[in-house]
Symmetry: C2
Subunit: 244 residues, 2 copies
Amino acid sequence: MSAEKIIAQLKDVSLFRVCSSEFLERLSVSALIRKFDKGYLLFTQDDVAERFFVVLSGAVKMFRETKDGIQVVTGLLPEKTVFGETALFHDKKYPFSAEVIDSGEILSLPLSVLEAELDHNSVFSKHMIGIMAIREKMQEQEIEHLSIQTAPQRIGCFLLKTLSVGEICGGHDKAFENKKITLTLPYDKTLIAARLGMQPETFSRALKKLKADTNIKVSGALVTIENLQALRDYSCSACSTPPS
Amino acid sequence: MSAEKIIAQLKDVSLFRVCSSEFLERLSVSALIRKFDKGYLLFTQDDVAERFFVVLSGAVKMFRETKDGIQVVTGLLPEKTVFGETALFHDKKYPFSAEVIDSGEILSLPLSVLEAELDHNSVFSKHMIGIMAIREKMQEQEIEHLSIQTAPQRIGCFLLKTLSVGEICGGHDKAFENKKITLTLPYDKTLIAARLGMQPETFSRALKKLKADTNIKVSGALVTIENLQALRDYSCSACSTPPS
DNA sequence: CGAGGGTTTGAAGTGCATCAAATAGTGTGG
DNA sequence: CCACACTATTTGATGCACTTCAAACCCTCG
C-alpha cells in the first residue's frame, strides 16, 4: 500500500485524528500491513510487545484466559480500532490476548514511535488521554451493566450500540427515529454471548425474551427493530448513562 | 495548611509524583482543603466540573445511579487518591457522583491548572497516560471478576487487594508469606458488598463460605488469614492476572 | 449429500436476590 | 453507666436468572 493510502487510513483512526502530517509520515514509514485469516492469534497476554495495531478490515477479539481455561472476551474490535498500545505502560507486555475473528488487514506500528511522540508532543498526549478517558467511562458502564442488567437487557444494549458504530464510540444516527430499523448482528451469536458475559444458551433464550418484550424481529443474524424507543426503555431502564 | 505541607502531600499522590516543583507550587497555590463529614455529597454525576479532588484523609465513594434508583458503586477511594480529573474529557461534567464515606480532608484543584499542564508538559501527560492505563487494566480485571467469579471468590480477592493498598495500586508486601495475617475491613460490610456488586445478605453468606473454605477467621471487621496461599488459590483460580 | 460448527431447546441444578425477621453493635441522652 | 434508637449484620425461606449437561436442529460449505 502506498504511503499516501496508509496516511489516509491512519487519519481515519480516532487516536491519530489530531496528528501532524510529519507524525503521520513517520508512522506510515514504519507501518506494516498484513492480511490475517480468521482464527489467527496475533499475540497472547504477557507477550513482550514491540508493536501495536490498527484493524483496517475484518475484526479482532481481545480476551484473557484464566488458569482453568475460562475465556473472558474483553472486546470485539471493528475496523479503525487501535489496540495493544497500552502495552507501553505495562512493562511492554500485552495485557490481553488478541485473535482475528474476521479475516482482514491489520496494520502494525512500533511502540517506540508512539512513545517518542508522547515524549515530546503534548497535544497528541492530551488527545490520547481524552480517548482513554472515554474508554474508561465505557468500561464503567460495562461494569454497571454486568452488575444490574438482565441478559435480555444486555443484548438490547448491544443492539443499540451496534446501531451507532461497532462498539468503540457512541456515534449519533438520530436519522431513524420512529422508523423500522434493520441491522445485521456483526458477529456470531456465540461470540456476542461471550462478549456480554453469558452462555450461548442464555443468549438464545434471552434474545427470545427480548423479542417478546420489545417487538423486535429476529431471523438468523438479521434483527428488525420496530420501536426503537421501546427497546431503549426496556434495555436502559437500568443504565445510568443511556446510549445515544 | 502551609504551602510546603500541601506540596508534600501532593508529592505523595501518584499522579503528581513526577511533577516539577514549579508545577507543584502552582498546584498548591490554587489548592483548597476542607474537612467533610461522612455522608457529604461532593458532587453528582453530570454536575459541571470546575475542580478535581484528592482524598487527604477519610474515604470517598464513587457511584452512579440509574433511573430506577439502583446505585452502582464504581470505586471506594482511600487516601491519596485523585478523582474527578477525567471530567476534563467529558465536557467538564463529572462522569459519576462522589460521596464522603469516612470523614476527612479533601483537597481540590482547578481543572484548568491540570489542563494547562497537560497542554505543554508532555512528561506529565505521559505519566498520566500510564496511570490511566493501569486503571484501565484494573477495570478489565473487575469486569472479568464480575463475569466469572463467585461471591466468595470476589470477597477473597477484595481481601487480597486490601492487603496491598486500598484498591488503587498493587503494592508489594511479600513480607507476610507463611505467617498469620490480621487485617481490618476498611469499610462497612454493606459498603464492600455494594462495591463487589452483591447484596449485603449475599456478602454475609459468602463470607461465611469463604471462611469455611479457606481457613480464615472473621470476627466483626477483623479478618485473620491463616494460609495466604490457600486464599490466593481459592480466589484467583478464576483470575487471569492474580494480584501481587 | 454429508460433516461440522453454530444455534436452539429441554431438563435439572446452582447461585444470588428478595422478602421477612431476628440479632448484634453503636452512639445517644438520661 | 444504662436504656433506647437506629443501623449494621446475620439468618431463614423462597423465587428467579443463569448455568450446565444433553440432545436436537439448522445451516453452510466442501
